[in-house]
Structures are given as C-alpha cells and as structure tokens.
C-alpha cells in the first residue's frame, strides 16, 4: 500500500498509466460497438434490393433467376414458432409459478438450476435430442419436430421471466388477499398473476424472439422445403434456414435473398423488442428486457 502514497515522478507515471487504461477501456467499448453497427448496416444495405411486396408472397427463386420471395420460410416459421409457443407457455409459466411460490423446496432448487443449464445449452444438441425422439420414430423431418425443439429452447426463458415477474409482486398484496380468506391458489391466479402479467407477456415475447432466430436445431429436425407447409409431418422451411441455405450457396441472387431474409428477421426482432419495451414501460415489472 505504501507504494501508492509515494508522490513525485512515480505519481505522474501513475496518472499517465491511469489515462492509458481508461483509453483502452473506451477503445474496447468502441471495438464492441463497431461489429453491431456493421452487421445491422450490412443487413439493411444488402437486404433492401430483395425487398418488395412479392418478397413476402412468393417462394424462393431458382439460381440466377431474380429474387423471388420467402413465403415458404415465413409460413414455416410462423407455424413452428406458433406451435412451439403453445407447448412452451403452459410448461414454462407453470414451472415459473412453482419457482416463485415454493422457492424453498428442493425441487425448486434442482429444477431452477437445470433450467439455467438448459437455457445455455447448445441448441444443436437439443435438435439432436428431438431428432432421436420425434424425427426417428416418425421417419420424417417435420414442423412438429421443429416446434418441439423450439419449445424446449423457449421453455427456460419463459420459466425464468415468469418467476422473476411474480417474485416482485409485493407481499402486502398477497397478504391482503389471504386476509380476506381467499385461498392461496385463488390469490396466485387473481392477484399475483394479474399483477405480474406484463412480466409474463415479456417472457413469452422474449421466448418467441429467441425461437424465431434459431437455426441449428431446425437443420436436424425440420429441414427445408421450397414450398409453404401443407402438412404437419413433412419437411418445413423457416426464415433462418433460408438465410443459411441461400447464404452459403454462392449464387449472387441467392445471397441477396439471404440478406433480404435477414432483414425481415431483424425487422421482426425489432418489433418484438419494441413490444417488450412497451409492456415493460406500461407497468414497471422489474423484468429487464435483455435478449
């Protein structure tokens, strides 16, 4: 400690070193922001040429034949994310209620820990699991398999946000309800959940945002089809899969289709994000929107 108190030339060296480190810290901030700016800028600049009304209503083009559209991907994504949400919401909200209302139980501790682990799990592994459980027995890639994989990915997000938004409902509200002789389960439904519902909605939107951008698990569960889905048990396209498929093919027009699909995806994410901000702004839930 004494070395710090030494004044004179050493002190000025300390000042200079302090400046250098501050500059480096600022530099790291700048370095991190550059890729964000570049990625978004490139998506907009390179994706815009593909965008027209028909981009949303037509199927993808052949090589070197215009830009076509990504209708198959949009319909496939809507179908799979929609079904995935229907599976994940009851499970996630249920688990979240359990975590928040019975936090002391051993099951809460274990399940909540597993939930955190699951949230950070490589999504390709989840895809392989669904391949083994759904695709192999049904002998076909399918929208159902894709939806199950997306549901498993959304589940931990919804469970955690539900828990957090219910935990911050003031204890006095619960006590007031209990004091009126209202049983606990009714208190949870009528008071706790209705107070925390904007937080619930936030969690569901965050889950949807995450699922919509997922690609890897769909590669091993849903595959690709050049037409909109007509059945639940057939190969099903998705917007992120189009980005992968067309972005790596090398034909110039396909690359532009990939950029256009990326632009559609980013725009969708932006809308979801703004909705989350809207839900949070309307009622302060304490849940932070961090996708």
């Amino acid at each position: 400690m004494t070395s710090i108190l030494v004044s004179g030339r050493r002190r000025s060296w300390r000042r200079i070193f302090d400046r250098i480190m501050k500059a480096l810290i600022l530099l790291s901030v700048v370095i991190a922001v550059i890729p964000l700016f570049l990625v978004v800028a490139d998506v907009v600049v390179q994706g815009l040429p593909a965008i027209s009304w028909s981009f949303l209503t037509e199927n993808p083009p052949s090589p070197l034949a215009g830009y076509g559209g990504i209708l198959n991907g949009i319909e496939g994504s809507l179908l799979m994310v929609g079904m995935g949400t229907l599976i994940a919401v009851p499970l996630g909200v249920g688990a979240g209620i359990y975590f928040s209302e019975w936090p002391e139980s051993r099951l809460s501790f274990l399940s909540s820990f597993m939930n955190d682990v699951l949230a950070e799990f490589p999504t390709i592994v989840i895809g392989l699991f669904v391949y083994a459980v759904v695709v192999a027995p049904t002998r076909t890639f399918s929208a159902v398999a894709g939806a199950v994989a997306l549901a498993i990915i959304m589940l931990p997000i919804i469970a955690r946000t539900t828990e957090e938004s219910l935990k911050i409902v003031p204890i006095t509200l619960r006590e007031a309800s209990m004091a009126l002789g209202i049983p606990r389960w009714k208190t949870i439904f009528r008071v706790v959940i209705s107070t925390g519902k904007s937080g619930l909605a936030t969690g569901i939107l965050l889950g949807i945002a995450r699922a919509t951008g997922e690609t890897a698990p769909l590669v091993v569960t849903a595959g690709y089809l050049n037409f909109p889905p007509t059945a639940l048990f057939q190969q099903t396209a998705s917007v992120p899969y189009i980005i992968y498929n067309f972005g790596t093919a090398g034909y110039p027009n396909w690359t532009t289709v990939a950029w256009g699909a990326a632009l559609v995806l980013v725009a969708f994410m932006l809308i979801l994000n703004l909705s989350v901000k809207f839900f949070i702004g309307r009622k302060s839930t304490g849940v932070r929107a961090e996708i």
Partner: protein, 316 residues
Amino acid sequence: MTAPKGNRRSGSKGDLVLKAVVGAAAIGIVALLIGLGIELTSGSWLSIKTFGLGFITGSTWNSVSDTYEVFPALLGTLTASAIALILGLPIGLGIAIFLSERARGIRAGATALGSLVELLAAVPSVIYGLWGLIVLAPFMRVYIEPTLKTLLGFPGLFSGTPIGTDLFTGGVILAIMIIPTISAVSRDILNAVPNSQREAMYSLGATDWEVVRKAVLPYARSGIFGATILGLGRAVGETMAVTFVIGNNINLPKSLLSPGATLTTLIVNQFGNTFDPLSEAALVEVGLVLFLLALAINSLARVLVWRMTRSTRFRV
C-alpha cells in the same frame, strides 16, 4: 388439527391441485435434462461400442471405411473458443468496467450503451454467420491474416495461405458473439462490489484505474471467472455463425489459417449425408460430448456467478 372446515379446506385442496400441476412442470424440466442425457447415450451406444476412446483421440472421419473419429473437431472447438476468449474477454471486461465504474455519473449514456451492446446478442447467430461469410471473411483474408502472418509468422500458428474461411475467423466471429455475454454478466458482478471497497482505495489517493485493479477486480474475481466460463459455454455451443466461416474441413487443421471444423459444425455438415446406423450414432455421440461439455461448463459458471451476485437473474 381441528382447523375450521369449509372454505379453508376447499382452499387447501385447490392449493394442492395447483402445487401438483405447476410442480409437474418443474419436474418436467428436470426430466427433460435427464431424458436428454439418456437419449443421447442410448442413441450413440453403437458408436461408443465400436470406437471406444478412439472416438475422441482418432482423426479419421470417413464413411467409406466406416470410421468416425472426432479429434480434429474437438481441437477446432477448443481452438476457436480459446481465440474467442482471448479476444473477447479483455473487450467484454473493458465494457463492464466502463459501464460500472467510469460511467458512474453519466448513467443515462451508460444505460443506452449497455442496451446497445446487449442488442448484439439479440441478432440471431445465423445473421452473424451470413455477415461473417460475406463481409468479415474477405476482410480477414485481405487485411488481417496477411498482417498476422508477417507479425507472428513463426512456425505453427499462422502458416499457410490466408483464405478467410478458417479457424481464426471462426474464433473472431465467436468473440464478437460472446462479448455481450461476458460484458453483461461482468457488469452485474462489478455492480455488486460494495462501494466501501472503492471508497477505501480512493481515500488512499489511488487513481481510478488503481481502484479498479486493486480493489474492485480482486473482489469480483470469482464472478468474472464465472462470466468467462459462461462465455466459453456460449462459444462451445455456438453453431450457425461458425458453420459459415470456419471452412468445414473434417481433417486435422495445420494452423489457425487452415479451414477446420468444430463439434457443432461437424453435426450440421455431416447430418443427412449418410443415414447408416453407425454414422448416425457417431453424430449423436458428438452431441453427447457437447452435452457433457455444456453441462460441466454451465454448472461451474452458474455456481461461480451465483456465489457472487446471489441472484438467479436470467439472461438470454
């Protein structure tokens, strides 16, 4: 117990039903993770029996000779993740320090910057991949990699012709993707450092940097380690962004400038190529290896971060 009958009893029955229903959901999460482990093990049993430990130590992936060994991909995962951490940790930590220390007093700006950096994490990885392939890889080939070759051209690391789609670019794109994770978690941990730590140091006449270096960082050490491990977990599991830029070569890479593969990209690229039972089992075994890696990494990270922040704040 002679509790009053009527309302209260029916209430407790409702309570039991609710607890059973939501408890089942909680059990479902545990069952899901256990089911994942069991299904991956049974699915890869054929491959485990056939190749044994050679699956991890051997370097041949050949469907003609029916040999599937993943050492090159394992090496690729470790190398690309190491590059990502070497580049991403100082930058992510720098942002965290900026947001928690230097930015004190200019809160509004810091919050805006924080959410901007966190937006990086909201962009789907497949879009990073597309950007990486079309924008970053050519840039690496023309500018960065020749420079590195000249500067660090000693035998080994940066030998060979720069092609842009290689292990090194894979590491760089991973670094870009894990910076938000590391910075957001580290920021929360630095914010959890008691201010008395800082005040004591300032009262000794320390500069801002000395406060950070000697009072804040040592206190937050285990939490920052946890954030790093969490970032490592992200890097190991990331699939799409890497698939675009790593070159997808299943043979042993010669240097950081050779095209390579990681465990995750191996699955994506080999999937659907052949559907004989052995190669399928081998791919599932790759998933099992990833499962075990992810389980170990994430458990460790969770324990470290939990101990520091004492909250289970969820972050996507």
